[in-house]
Symmetry: C2
Subunit: 338 residues, 2 copies
């Protein structure tokens, strides 16, 4: 396994690989010469520099883009916190395989390979209101699965998830690591009714109270109050950092998956961007806590990497301008103040 213990992960997070400032500086010089007022492409300019920094290439590329969707099941689904039955997780994995889901269409449009990784769907995590969701070995196993899915030569990785009840898991991680009530972090997920939302809030608060002895240890929290697909996302983010691959995060659950790592070292987010802010109510608050500014705000709340997948299109726009535009001298265009 890539990490044999929680301490191994913590050690990696203490001494994170860094990007290439020289590649980013060279890309910034090119930006300044392109036929546009300085800064006028806004966030697209910063995205081009970010790709250069993490790909460690003055001329970044998006030839090999991967979207990875991890799927897991959750013991707390039995508590009636979702509008859908747990069987839907596996049914949607089959839908991904058949090409019928939103992310299939988006991956095709974005020119990305779609990789779907179901993790022990027939063995949900334990109900974390009464026990740890995973023991340390189960957690490390899920981290490892995520780590190994990342092709080291990827130019970009977008991560997302599928898992009935997992917005409750995400909200519980937020409450455990950031404080705040169940009411603050619980949203309607796939569309739970008022009674379900009340059960969701209660589940979060019961769980945080039950595990109060470990709240100071973010990785222990990620095991005890997390889920397999969230751990796998964290593993994929760690692998991307090792291989200098920029990452687009999807919605609330995918962002909650990085929270335990960010609690150890906020620098883990340097190679990540938030693809979008979802309509799930906790996501905007979580992004604010993490200092992440989303690229898109389209009221989406589907998961399955759909928001991150659409954000790939923005990176393609950033890259095509950065690499394809003429410079002022090439085009014979006058600069400012001339």
């Amino acid at each position: 396994m890539q990490f044999d213990s929680l301490d191994d992960i913590a050690a990696f997070c203490r001494d994170l690989p860094v990007g290439d400032a020289r590649a980013a500086d060279a890309a910034a010089l090119r930006q300044q010469a392109l036929t546009k007022p300085p800064g006028s492409l806004g966030r697209l300019e910063e995205l081009a520099l970010w790709l250069a920094r993490w790909q460690r290439r003055e001329s970044p590329r998006l030839d090999h883009v991967t979207i990875t969707v991890f799927a897991g099941n959750h013991g707390i689904a039995a508590r009636g916190v979702s509008a859908y039955p747990q069987a839907v997780t596996a049914q949607m994995v089959a839908n991904f395989a058949g090409g019928g889901a939103a992310i299939n269409q988006i991956a095709n449009l974005a020119g990305a390979d779609l990789c779907v990784v179901p993790i022990e769907l027939d063995r949900p995590t334990r109900d974390f209101t009464v026990a740890p969701a995973m023991d340390v070995d189960e957690f490390l196993g899920a981290i490892d699965i995520g780590y190994r899915t990342v092709p080291p030569d990827s130019d970009l990785l977008a991560v997302g998830e599928m898992g009935i009840a997992n917005t409750t898991t995400a909200a519980t991680l937020c409450a455990a690591l950031l404080g705040g009530s169940g009411e603050h972090w619980a949203g309607r997920g796939t569309g739970v009714d008022d009674a379900g939302l009340a059960r969701k809030r209660e589940t979060i608060e019961t769980a945080v109270s039950f595990h109060r002895a470990i709240l100071g240890n973010p990785l222990a929290v990620a095991a005890a109050l997390g889920g397999r697909e969230l751990a796998a996302i964290a593993g994929a983010i760690l692998a991307a950092r090792r291989h200098h691959i920029p990452v687009l995060l999807d919605g609330f659950v995918a962002t909650a998956a990085i929270l335990p790592l960010a609690s150890l070292n906020a620098g883990i987010m340097d190679h990540c961007r938030a693809g979008h802010v979802s309509a799930e109510s906790g996501h905007r608050a979580l992004l604010r806590e993490l200092g992440l500014k989303p690229l898109l705000d389209l009221d989406m709340r589907l998961g399955e990497a759909s928001g991150a997948g659409i954000a790939i299109l923005l990176l393609r726009a950033a890259l095509s301008c950065h690499m394809g535009m003429a410079t002022f001298s090439e085009a014979g265009v006058s600069g400012a103040g001339t």
Copy 2:
């Protein structure tokens, strides 16, 4: 000419063509059957219905997408309201022709035809602080040019502009038709310095005061305080409405171009969406006044249809999900509460 008088335009605006509610309703029924929680694709769902309504097709398409960039020059450029010399308008038109501008890269990425229409660049409008920018015939001529550029069989039209000093023109139209000071509406455009910004504010206020007798007539304002490329955008929007073509507006200038029409009948915006909100300070306020919610917010402020061009990618995402996803019954996925 399509419109022989300002009254002809006003008459068209009084009795605007409408979309096809049955096509939109049929598209909405399809949305409800797709394998996702209802509403979970957020604004992408509304965009698919909007395409269906205006294309009058239950199954909308984006096979023939056109980006049109109108260019014009402005008498008020001589007042030092821009960071760039007026020659840059023609130089950038040449850059568009040569494929070196941002919009060339974006059009390629978005699968759109790019149509660039320079309008009498060697004959700037008159300085509207001392005279009408255009007389009625000049204005109608520019409207007509814009109208005739629109291919009647387009599936989508994105409109933008190029014209040194034209954020001053746009801000002046806003101040004239919506009220508010020069300070409220003037931004830094391509990056004007403090002294230039002060000249810009003064230009706006002088112009509105000079033309105070006509402020109650939106089309007279569009002629006297507008620009040729703004009039052409209005003409293109009118043609798109005639031919039932949905329109994506670009930034502050393109949005200001629809303002005189919207002042006559707010329904003119029904076949339009704001592609983005730009960093130009007046744009957010103008969108709010018009009740338009932008699709993107990326701190861009380039013009040349760049924001609208990127928004085409979102429409492609909306369409690909709408047309490509499996239904619950096709995929064997359980619905909510089952």
